[in-house]
């Protein structure tokens, strides 16, 4: 078939190929134009392209100043996100990389401080007292008052200035008092910690917040001592660039493996002879189901998401892979679920309610997961989730952590992309198109209360816990790019 020939339309694969040869700046422009033209779309391709691009950006970065590197990444990130704000994943990746740079910097500072044990011990104590406000500030960041987080909270203030003019920052810690005004709800632990600032309580357990977290956040608190170190830090001889690039490569690995890691959970959630309803063409969901299909027999009811992704849906049912992944996919040996002996029933979206009374579980693919536990998914997801709720059917959302975004859905409409009306009513029907206002929303916002469980590459989480995972993965100072 002549149609079978791979057309070299610009897309993810061509971008990745060109990335190797073209310099950074044109590549950024290239990516921006691809995003704008929707030639790279959907979370996974966007994430892969963004990481690859940032790897180049870091690789070509000259100089050893971490602050400048952060500034550079942030500037590229700003351009990318403004090119296509609804591909939230791009922003997520940029934030992850920024966090990575900061982590690398802090780790090296820590190494430096531990060399002189006395100061190290001192910093450890101060560290403790400072982490608690840190936690409070992250919570307040994800409160409904999203815009409040635009104000620099204490730590971000520290950090950003630490990066730029780190020298004078050593006098700043008392500023912490200002914190209470931003997060009045958390004032109780704060009082504790403020006392702690001066009195050094011997056991941190007196405070109401858990103390034993050694997450990146814990390290994230830059103490005054740390900051001092930072001043002469650029003179020290460690390879910032190499470490950051290693980190980005790890991120790439994570993107690669996340579907498999998610799929590893499959057997915990699917029992035999279940009837599972899913929608659109999603790699993660397909892998998830396939992992379960290896051990168990069940039935899949697949809503086709007409008119947005139906061709891809049909394709994935027939061949096991999406059309747009053709060619650039490493594991081309995909098989459709049916090859594993799984009964698959394709239904139009209107049938969801009729079928739902017999469905045991709904598995949704997602475009973006938001910090409040809601998600943006292919159109139709809302009604599927709602119908499931009405029938008391559990709704499981399968998503890689990279889709998890610190964005709070303050304005839902902002996140919804509208697509080509021509796919609803073809433009040949000029009379109709002329008079009737045809709409084709591509995404739905599904509120958190319609979701029962998230399965990410880290495991299963309740929607109410997602904010915590967000806090683990993004630095609060990077939330506003």
């Amino acid at each position: 078939m002549p149609q079978g020939a791979v057309t070299v339309a610009p897309g993810l694969s061509s971008f990745l190929k060109s990335l190797k040869t073209t310099p950074v700046e044109p590549s950024v422009e290239h990516f921006i134009s691809l995003l704008k033209r929707r030639q790279i779309r959907n979370s996974r391709p966007c994430a892969i392209a963004a990481t690859a691009l940032l790897l180049r950006v870091v690789g070509e970065f000259k100089g050893r100043d971490s602050a400048k590197l952060v500034e550079r990444i942030r500037q590229v990130g700003k351009r990318l996100t403004s090119a296509q704000p609804r591909e939230v994943v791009v922003g997520n990746i940029v934030r992850r990389v920024l966090g990575l740079v900061r982590e690398v910097v802090e780790e090296n500072v820590d190494v430096g401080t531990e060399a002189t044990s006395d100061v190290g011990h001192n910093s450890q104590l101060q560290h403790d007292s400072l982490t608690r406000p840190m936690l409070a500030s992250t919570i307040s960041t994800f409160s409904p008052l999203k815009h409040a987080s635009a104000e620099p909270t204490d730590s971000s203030l520290h950090q950003s200035e630490a990066m730029s003019d780190s020298g004078e920052l050593s006098k700043r810690p008392p500023f912490l008092a200002s914190h209470t005004s931003y997060a009045p709800a958390s004032s109780a632990p704060l009082v504790n910690s403020l006392f702690g600032l001066f009195s050094h309580p011997d056991t941190p357990s007196t405070s109401s917040t858990p103390t034993g977290h050694q997450s990146p956040n814990g390290k994230g608190a830059l103490t005054a001592v740390n900051l001092e170190r930072l001043a002469d830090f650029s003179k020290s001889n460690f390879d910032l660039k190499a470490e950051v690039m290693d980190g980005i490569r790890e991120l790439q690995d994570e993107l690669e493996q996340s579907d498999d890691l998610i799929a590893a959970n499959a057997l915990d959630h699917i029992h035999s002879n279940e009837i599972i309803l899913t929608h659109t063409a999603s790699r993660s969901v397909q892998k998830f189901l396939q992992a379960a299909a290896r051990k168990r027999k069940f039935t899949v009811v697949h809503a086709e998401t007409y008119p947005h992704d139906h061709t891809a849906t049909h394709g994935i049912l027939l061949t096991g892979k999406k059309r747009d992944e053709y060619g650039d996919d490493v594991d081309d040996m995909w098989k459709p679920l049916t090859a594993a002996g799984i009964q698959v029933v394709l239904i139009p979206d209107s049938h969801v309610f009729a079928i739902m009374s017999r469905v045991n579980k709904v598995i949704l693919a997602t475009h973006t997961v938001l910090a409040n536990g809601g998600l943006v998914a292919a159109a139709g997801a809302h009604m599927i989730a709602k119908a499931a709720k009405v029938h008391q059917t559990p709704v499981v959302v399968v998503s890689g952590v990279y889709k998890l975004s610190p964005v709070y859905p303050f304005d839902i409409e902002e996140l919804i992309e509208y697509g080509d009306a021509g796919s609803v009513v073809p433009y040949e029907d000029g009379d109709f198109v002329d008079k009737v206002d045809v709409e084709n929303p591509l995404y739905d916002y599904v509120p958190a209360d319609l979701v029962d469980l998230y399965i990410t590459n880290l495991g299963g989480h309740a929607p109410s816990y997602l904010y915590r995972i967000v806090a683990d993965h993004y630095r609060s100072e990077d939330i506003n790019l």
């Binding site: 059309r323 209107s350 009729a354 139709g380 119908a387 206002d437």
Partner: protein, 505 residues
């Protein structure tokens, strides 16, 4: 002696793998043709007795295989008949058959040749059970798309109508009922009572019922049609046998006209009267698919000068709402059109939901075009009133709890429009190997058909993949705020009462 059966058992799993792996696709098309042709020739040559023998041999072979794991002594029984059978078959079907015969030993040839022999044995048994998910009970009658097989009594008007039904040219509960009654008028007009019987006795049972059967074979009767037929039979039976035939026929025709006038035309008018003040200036009315009453109401409200706009939510594959949207827009109403995937967005903008009905069930549930339940669910969850417009002729004493027990299944091939099939063509190269090689014989056909027809073939061949299309769903009563009928506006719980009232008059 004990070796042959075990050899036979080991052969089948081994045979298909080289078959599928070694055959390059180009060869498989030609090869498959060759393989198939002798099979087709060979099959009829087998006499009934031989067939029986063959079946027996297969059965025994299977039994032997089952026992092979159990104990060796029994095995000795099976080889002789099998050995006797094999040569005769092979001599008839030629040596080429050998390859594909590996499978039939265990039962029917199955389409995929990858799965282990165990599966092959099981699947033929499972197949009938699995069709249509849990809608299997609705697949009993297949829809007819031609006049073939219609009895000679069927009137040409009914024949034409039947085809219009099956191709959705006449679609919608009201339209179908009216069209049927009009066709029956033609039937009655050309009817002549045979000698020796009376019109009242002969017409219903002998002349009308084949017409009804034919219509049913084209598409299952709608509730309204059932009600109308019941009414018509009732009228015919009540005709005094002493009335002359011409007069009786004339009476019948006018009765039918009055029925249409009363139960549909006037009823629609009354419903519009009742519902017109529900449309307030500035309202955004959301409706799903297309309903004739809703259309009448909207047009009338527009004519009366109420400023409002309409959102029409539609679904594949019928796209009934397109016609409604076009009609309303031509009259100058502001119309927004979206598909059911965007329903969540459309409902957000709406202030009222007006729905048509296929039927109102006696437990207050609405039986209507599939997808209606979704719309009413979304609307009622965002506290938008849901109003159903329904003539009382569509009320039924039947009850329904879900959309699965009673429904109408439509051919799934309707689900893929031409453009969708076109869009799927590029996938051809990615089709899994197991499928493309096993469907070799169909490929030969597909090459000729080229394109769209072939895509449907892919779906049909994939044994585990099916498309499902039902036409209706049942909306729970709690989503419906009001049912407007010609008797007035009522809560859904009053449906059975009104139904009794309207049928007893």
């Amino acid at each position: 002696m004990s070796h042959p059966p075990s050899g036979g058992a080991a052969q089948p799993p081994a045979a298909p793998t080289p078959d599928s792996a070694s055959n390059p696709p180009s060869q498989s098309t030609g090869d498959a043709k060759n393989v198939n042709a002798p099979a087709a020739e060979g099959a009829p040559k087998l006499s009934a007795a031989e067939l029986k023998k063959q079946k027996q041999a297969e059965k025994q072979a299977r039994r032997a295989q089952a026992k092979a794991s159990g104990g060796p002594p029994n095995q000795q029984k099976s080889p002789p008949p099998k050995d006797g059978q094999k040569p005769t078959k092979e001599s008839k079907q030629g040596p080429k058959e050998d390859k594909s015969k590996a499978l039939p030993v265990r039962g029917r040839p199955s389409q995929t040749n990858v799965p282990a022999p165990k599966d092959i044995k099981k699947e033929p048994k499972k197949e009938p059970k699995q069709i249509g998910l849990f809608f299997g009970h609705l697949y009993s009658q297949l829809r007819q798309h031609s006049m073939v097989g219609a009895t000679k009594e069927v009137h040409p008007a009914v024949l034409a109508l039947g085809l219009q039904y099956s191709s959705y040219v006449v679609c919608g509960s009201t339209a179908r009922m009216v069209a049927m009654l009009l066709a029956f008028k033609a039937v009655i007009e050309s009817y002549q009572t045979p000698v020796g019987t009376s019109l009242a006795r002969h017409l219903t049972s002998h002349h009308l019922s084949p017409q009804i059967d034919y219509l049913r074979s084209c598409r299952p009767l709608s509730i309204s049609m059932g009600n109308a037929i019941r009414w018509l039979k009732d009228v015919i039976i009540k005709i005094d046998p002493s009335t002359p035939e011409a007069e009786a026929k004339r009476d019948l025709l006018s009765e039918i006209d009055t029925f249409i006038l009363q139960r549909i035309t006037a009823a629609d008018h009354l419903i519009c009267d009742n519902a017109i003040d529900k449309i307030r200036p500035g309202d955004v009315i959301l409706t799903y698919a297309s309903s004739s009453v809703v259309e009448k109401l909207l047009l009338r409200a527009h004519k009366e000068g109420t400023p409002f706009s309409v959102i029409i939510v539609d679904s594949k594959p019928l796209f009934e709402g397109k016609r409604l949207a076009r009609n309303l827009a031509q009259h100058g109403i502001k119309v927004k059109y979206a598909l059911v995937t965007g329903a969540a967005h459309a409902v957000k903008d709406a202030t009222k939901v007006l729905l048509g009905a296929h039927a109102m069930m006696s437990n207050g549930r609405l039986y209507s075009r599939v997808g209606t339940a979704l719309i009413s669910m979304l609307a009622s969850s965002s506290s938008i009133p849901v109003i159903v417009l329904c003539e009382s002729v569509k009320f039924t004493e039947r009850v329904a709890l879900d959309s699965i027990v009673g429904n109408e299944v439509a051919p799934s091939s309707e689900l893929l429009s031409e453009s969708e099939r076109q869009a799927l063509l590029p996938f051809k190269s990615c089709l899994p190997k197991s499928q493309s090689s096993s469907k070799g014989r169909d490929d030969g056909k597909g090459e000729k058909e080229e394109g769209e027809g072939e895509v449907i073939g892919w779906f049909e061949e994939e044994k585990n993949l099916q498309m499902l299309q039902v036409l209706y769903d049942v909306t729970p009563a709690e989503y419906i705020n009001m049912v407007i009928t010609e008797y007035g506006s009522l809560p859904p719980s009053s449906v059975p009462v009104v139904h009794r009232l309207s049928t007893n008059i």
